[in-house]
């Protein structure tokens, strides 16, 4: 066993505190150490060359590098060993920067002593290092995208345009998502549907994209390159192949229920398409409200359908498919303002939400674009827009900024002025957050050209007086209490995670962040990746996102899938758990505790021919976290590269 130790100065980051030269000298006398050297920057080319020449000269078979955290340069030094024809895992890093010099700058002497201890421990570990190898895994070159909003559609298009199959799963009867509900988009005032529908059509026509609407992902197992996914295609009660989308059925259906797409401002039928440009252009029967399913009466839609497409007996279809990657683009829900007592617990008719206002101003919306009050149908002449309802409010458990509300509220006020030129618009705000390309200019235009009045302060109460609403608040700039009468109040309700995000995360075995959004792998450097390899994020499932951000994320997530598909095969991480089956008792503690669901049970035959159950680690899924090692009562699980004997040896060396 011939060990070389290489100690880095890291400029003065380490050597400014730790006496590196003295350390290299004393370590060189340590048993088993053949050579010990120091260098100003061990990660630099000269530093690496120093390692390479020492390995050759002294015929070293393993090395210790004392430097920064292994998170930064472990791979650099592994590559160095690989170049030399050595197994890259015959390496140990002693972190004497983050864990020593940076935190003990006040005591150089003890810091040098601690650095020596850290190096001794690394030497003890490297003595027991074993050659580790990666195994190859094949890749299913097909992508699953969950969620058919603009983020999901764009991601699907980007992957498909690169030549790979994509399945786009959407829970509602049509793709389009939130963007389909919007009227205009800030700050350019493009018609939302006009820029979205071409993408919806393109996705629908794309020969590599399979769109499954009215469908939900029910179960996911497997791992990167080979996810096994169960999808439930809910029965539409309409045969998709026969239906021509003529719309006869929904015009004759006698049942009327609140339209989800119009946010309750209009009625839809029990057999319905959510909106005219729906993709696919095929209705579904909402069985919970259909008279045929409730009372076995009616059947009008079947009678009037010219192409005999109605099928009341259709059943849900379960689809099981394999995918190489999964992109989550499940979007967001909106805060329910009935939690705010001071805004009337959701009881006041003329207090509406921002998404309802989007439908009101939309020319294809329930009022044909007329901004009228729900209570009496009168045109709204004086409207208050209140921002941060369910955002930036700890009392409501929503400490974060919903990010898009400042901008859409400015847009709403502008649209009011465009639709009703003599109307007055007041915006009650805390701060105006307009950080985005041309956003600040847009807000300025709304204030200056459209004379929208911005009042800085939270609204403390909204109540009815006669037909109108009284808004009471505080103008924090003038320091005065204000009370004003309005025809209509629009609440900029906050963006919240999907209400079923907890169960969704459990199904996918992924983590959520503190606000229950789908957390990313790294907030700066891996914003569209999950900690589970092969799962990517797009759009507002991760955090409130506007359209350009969602589209950009969709592209980024697509590239992550594509770079996976571009590989010939995947290599599995070699530093993973292994089970010593000869002493495994089959208690399966490890299986239950594994956060990656990487452990399964396996039947093996003992020497005496008896069959017993033991734990088996799936090498592709295991991330080498070591949780199972700690949980094993018979200590039969070992983490390769960080084995029990290495840890004990390191402790011994102290």
């Amino acid at each position: 066993m011939r060990i070389g130790v290489f100690i880095c100065h890291c400029g003065t980051n380490i050597s400014g505190v730790v006496d590196v030269v003295k350390l290299a000298e004393s370590i060189s006398h340590y048993p088993g150490v053949v050579i010990s050297k120091e260098n100003k920057y061990m990660c630099s080319d000269p530093g690496q060359n120093l390692i390479k020449s020492a390995v050759k000269e002294y015929n070293l078979d393993r090395i210790v590098v004392a430097s920064c955290t292994p998170k930064l340069h472990e791979n650099t030094f592994r590559a160095c060993l690989e170049d030399l024809g050595l197994n890259p895992y015959m390496l140990e890093i002693a972190n004497i920067r983050e864990q020593c010099s940076w935190v003990h700058s006040d005591n150089p002497e003890l810091a040098t002593k601690k650095a020596e201890d850290l190096i001794k421990m690394a030497i003890a570990r490297v003595r027991f290092a074993k050659e580790l190898t990666c195994s190859k895994v094949t890749i299913e070159r097909r992508a699953l995208v969950i969620g058919g909003g603009v983020a999901g559609i764009q991601s699907a298009l980007d992957i498909a345009n690169a030549g790979y199959h994509v399945t786009l799963v959407e829970r509602t009867p049509s793709i389009g998502g939130r963007m389909a509900q919007l009227d205009k988009t800030f700050p350019t005032l493009d018609c939302s549907a006009c820029i979205l529908t071409p993408k919806m059509v393109e996705a629908n026509r794309h020969h590599l994209i399979k769109i499954l609407t009215y469908s939900e992902v029910e179960e996911v197992s497997g791992f990167v390159g080979s996810f096994e996914v169960t999808i439930r295609m809910k029965s539409r009660s309409v045969e998709m192949k026969k239906c021509t989308g003529c719309g006869m059925c929904q015009s004759k259906c006698p049942v009327k229920v609140d339209s989800e797409f119009d946010e309750g401002l209009s009625k839809r039928r029990a057999i319905y398409m959510p909106f005219p440009q729906a993709v696919p252009n095929i209705p579904v029967i909402d069985r919970a409200n259909c008279r045929y399913f409730l009372e076995k009466k009616c059947g009008v839609c079947k009678k009037v359908c010219p192409s005999d497409a109605i099928d009341y007996d259709q059943e849900d279809t379960i689809l099981k498919e394999k995918f190489g990657s999964i992109t989550i683009a499940t979007g967001f829900d909106l805060f329910d303002h009935s939690a705010y007592g001071e805004y009337g617990y959701g009881k006041l008719k003329n207090v509406i939400t921002s998404i309802q206002y989007e439908r009101l101003v939309n020319s294809s919306g329930p009022t044909g674009g007329h901004i009228i009050r729900p209570s009496d149908g009168k045109e709204a002449k004086k409207v208050a827009f209140i921002s941060c309802v369910g955002s930036r409010d700890n009392k409501m458990g929503k400490p974060y900024c919903s990010k898009v509300c400042c901008m859409y509220t400015a847009k709403h006020a502008l649209l009011l002025k465009e639709h009703v030129p003599d109307a007055e618009a007041y915006i009650f705000y805390i701060d105006i957050r307009a950080a985005g390309k041309n956003y600040e200019e847009f807000v300025y235009r709304v204030q200056e050209n459209y004379r929208v009045k911005y009042i800085r302060g939270r609204v403390s109460k909204i109540f009815e007086e006669g037909d109108n609403l009284i808004v009471r608040g505080f103008d924090t700039l003038s320091g005065e209490s204000i009370e004003m009468e309005f025809d209509l109040v629009v609440l900029a309700v906050g963006v919240i995670p999907r209400k079923d995000s907890d169960s969704f995360a459990r199904m996918l075995n992924i983590s959520l962040d503190a606000n229950h959004f789908v957390g990313e792998l790294h907030p700066k450097l891996a914003p569209v990746e999950k900690n589970t390899p092969g799962i990517f994020l797009s759009g507002s499932c991760q955090y409130p996102r506007d359209i350009p951000e969602s589209v950009a994320m969709a592209g980024a997530a697509a590239v992550k899938s594509l770079s996976l598909f571009a590989k010939e095969f995947l290599t599995s991480e070699p530093m993973i758990s292994e089970v010593n089956t000869s002493i495994c008792t089959g208690c399966l503690n490890c299986k239950n505790i594994c956060p990656y669901r990487a452990i399964n049970e396996e039947e093996i035959k003992d020497l005496d021919g008896k069959i017993r159950i033991v734990a088996k680690v799936n090498e592709t899924i295991c991330r080498g976290c070591g949780t199972c090692v700690a949980s094993c009562p018979s200590q039969c699980i070992n983490l390769k590269g960080v084995s029990n004997e290495q840890i004990l040896a390191a402790i011994e060396a102290l």
């Binding site: 007592g341 001071e342 009337g344 617990y345 109460k461 109540f463 009815e464 007086e465 006669g466």
Partner: protein, 287 residues
């Protein structure tokens, strides 16, 4: 059921009418209210201004006294109730505050007994009003006014919705009255500014009376002595100040309960009210 009764200063002086109605109703319903012999000032709206420890110590004295009898404390003044209950909650939640307060008052606190408002007691004790009501308050349109202290913060009376409470409304409806929906149920009446800066009360209480009147109420029902004096005692001043006419009698909720339970109105001290309630009660055939 037996309770330790905390009358507070108002019910011993300016609001004897409230105290009398509480007594009449509890006697009739078999609710035993035993006045605590050593109750201390609750601290009301002033003790928290110099420092928090004082505002906890004063109610804690009463809570320690009530601990001796292991009976829940009942208060009928909204301020007394708010001080006692919030102190009780706080001491239960923060052990270090409990230790500090125990040191200050020189007594141990168990914080096991509960603090209730008389409104909650009526609500919990009587399950079936229909069988005991002698005279339904038919046709009486009431605006239930909770004031600012009875429902705030959210964990005061167990109603759930601090901005739009229903407990008193439900009680009134059970008594046969029609409680109107109005937006000023929990607005501030101006409280003790009546003495130092009366125009605050004239303005704030004026808005409450205006809103009640506009919403079609014939009278206001309250659960707090100070609300009562601001809305009743000062009503003529408020009318002058706002140049409006209200003529809205203001009842304590147990007074209306007493009438519904068949208690003779002469046993209640209704003549202590400034806005004469008799014409309304006669008109509605309730006396």
């Amino acid at each position: 059921m037996e309770y330790s009764y905390y009358p507070g200063c108002s019910l011993k002086s300016s609001s004897k009418d409230y105290a009398e109605s509480v007594k009449q109703v509890s006697d009739k319903l078999g609710i035993t209210l035993i006045e605590l012999s050593n109750w201390a000032c609750c601290g009301a709206s002033v003790s928290h201004i110099p420092e928090e420890s004082l505002s906890l110590a004063l109610p804690a004295l009463t809570i320690a006294e009530a601990d001796k009898y292991s009976r829940d404390i009942v208060a009928s003044c909204a301020a007394c109730f708010n001080r006692l209950k919030s102190t009780h909650l706080l001491l239960g939640k923060y052990p270090e505050k409990k230790i500090e307060t125990e040191k200050l008052i020189g007594k141990n606190l168990s914080v096991k007994i509960n603090v209730k408002h008389f409104l909650e007691v009526l609500f919990e004790e009587v399950k079936d009003w229909d069988s005991i009501i002698i005279k339904k308050l038919k046709g009486l349109k009431v605006a239930c006014y909770y004031g600012c202290l009875l429902t705030r913060p959210n964990d005061m009376i167990k109603d759930g919705k601090s901005e739009d409470p229903r407990m008193m409304d439900n009680l009134m409806e059970k008594l046969g009255a029609a409680s109107i929906d109005w937006p000023f149920k929990t607005e501030c009446c101006g409280t003790s500014f009546g003495l130092s800066k009366p125009e605050v009360v004239l303005k704030l209480s004026g808005r409450i009376l205006r809103s009640a009147k506009k919403s079609g109420a014939e009278c206001i029902v309250v659960a707090c002595p100070l609300c009562h004096s601001n809305l009743d005692l000062r009503q003529s001043q408020i009318e002058k100040y706002n140049n409006l006419k209200f003529d809205l009698p203001v009842f304590y909720f147990p007074e209306l309960a007493a009438l519904a339970l068949g208690i003779d109105y002469r046993n209640l001290l209704l003549d202590k009210h400034i806005v004469d309630p008799m014409p309304l009660l006669r008109r509605k055939d309730l006396i």
